[in-house]
Symmetry: C2
Subunit: 247 residues, 2 copies
DNA sequence: CGAACCTTTGAAGTGACTCAATGCGTGTGG
DNA sequence: CCACACGCATTGAGTCACTTCAAAGGTTCG
């Protein structure tokens, strides 16, 4: 089974690709690459802003730096995600991608994209779907940061990470490493690391989570969900339009 | 010239569609509809969360409501934009679209999407491009709201509206109606209407803008650009990948 | 002319920031 | 095997940006 099928099988939504699609897709994809934790893929030493990357394994995030040195983390990527969509129609990258763990990726060069759109409508539809999904996720994040308080934002982020992890683990986990420093969490939800720490303490005191050494345990998921505002877009995916005319 | 060509000609980037593409595209698009200012297209009385809408004329915005009654405006739409991307892969709409002026739209039903992807790769590529563009825009907005102060956010929004307007007007305008109430501006940049008002007053006092009756005049664009953080993604579009293999 | 909506302003309260120091865990070199 | 450095977490004190609540002033439109 190809990587793309594997990827989509995870979402339990799509039928398998045909042999021809499979072969054509392989011919368009640059082989797997490995990245060490901490390296920047884009806007860093491995500049390839004109590629889409498909995450085979590892965790990464997208971020932007401001002149004043501030940083914003705008997306979290897990296995199965497509990265770099927002860079495709631009000459310069709109965001940096950083590997927070060792990661293995498939690279898909921009010049091949139109070929894929011409020859592989289903693959094109997959790319489109993931772009739309990312759109919805960014939208949710915007609502969270723009219109909720710190505690709610942190709760949402915890729920998001939990949801994405358990999707990949095939079973729900209530205890997991958060995988981000408190400063990075602050960059993701628009707060300082100091405030993130205090809010963690609050959630801990409220007995909805427990912490030890970067490890989080959700002890009251319902209450956490009431504090935060999180919709799991990945599990809401509805791809009927996609497969209707496909074998 | 078809609407889509018209749309893309605005961005000065793409060649014309072929006759067949043109005809095929027409057959997939539901005819123009008119909406009165103030009506909700999605999650409102004219429910069609499973459509893409192409804006022929008018101004609209996308928003989300929270349980506590708060609202966040996440996107501003102008003529030439494609709306509803983030709703396509979901059963329920992820955001509401509201017409803030009378508007004329083309509707493109979701069931026709896969047909378009199969028959009209260039049209599919257009949809994909706009999704990626919207991603970049949402990304920028997230950085602005998450990591800059109110004054910078307001400056960015003013610059954004100015840029979008002048793109359509074919010449740069320094004076224009802002088109949003201060409460709506607050929803767009994550502030209360009260604070928006005070920041307007500040910018006015700083002599970078002047105001009268919802009309704004940018009197010092350079300084405004230094206060805000705004990249005009629409003018940064680079569609070389797109047309390379196209006639 | 009045109602509805929007803008503007004031005063008080608070969530989050800044600055600064301390603690903790891990790895490294002497 | 200890000393130290480094990155990260934690806590306190003071300040500030923004919110909340409340009221008054403009504008538009029926």
């Amino acid at each position: 089974m190809s990587f793309v099928e594997d990827l989509l099988a995870k979402y339990g939504q799509l039928r398998t690709l045909t042999q021809e699609e499979e072969a054509a897709f392989r011919s368009l994809t640059v082989k797997t690459r490995d990245y060490k934790a901490g390296t920047d893929l884009i806007a860093g030493q491995y500049d390839e802003p004109d590629h889409l990357f498909l995450v085979e394994s590892g965790r990464l995030f997208a971020s932007c730096e401001l002149e004043n040195g501030q940083r914003a983390i705008t997306r979290l990527y897990f296995a199965g995600d497509i990265m770099g969509t927002a860079n495709i129609p631009f000459e310069k990258a709109t965001h940096t991608i950083t590997a927070q763990s060792d990661a293995t990726l498939y690279a898909f060069p921009r010049q091949k994209l139109i070929e894929a759109f011409t020859k592989l409508p289903r693959v094109a539809a997959i790319f489109y779907t993931f772009a739309a999904l990312e759109n919805a996720t960014l939208n949710d994040r915007l609502v969270s940061i723009g219109r909720t308080r710190g505690k709610a934002r942190l709760a949402s982020l915890i729920l998001e990470i939990s949801a994405r992890r358990s999707m990949l683990a095939a079973r729900s986990e209530d205890s997991f490493p958060i995988g981000l420093t408190q400063a990075q969490i602050g960059d993701a939800i628009g707060l300082t690391e100091v405030q993130v720490n205090r809010l963690f303490r609050d959630l801990d005191k409220d007995k909805v989570i427990e912490r030890s050494n970067g490890h989080i345990t959700i002890t009251d998921r319902d209450r956490l969900a009431r504090i935060g505002v999180f919709r799991d877009r990945y599990n809401d995916l509805d791809l009927d339009w996609f497969d209707e005319e496909m074998k």
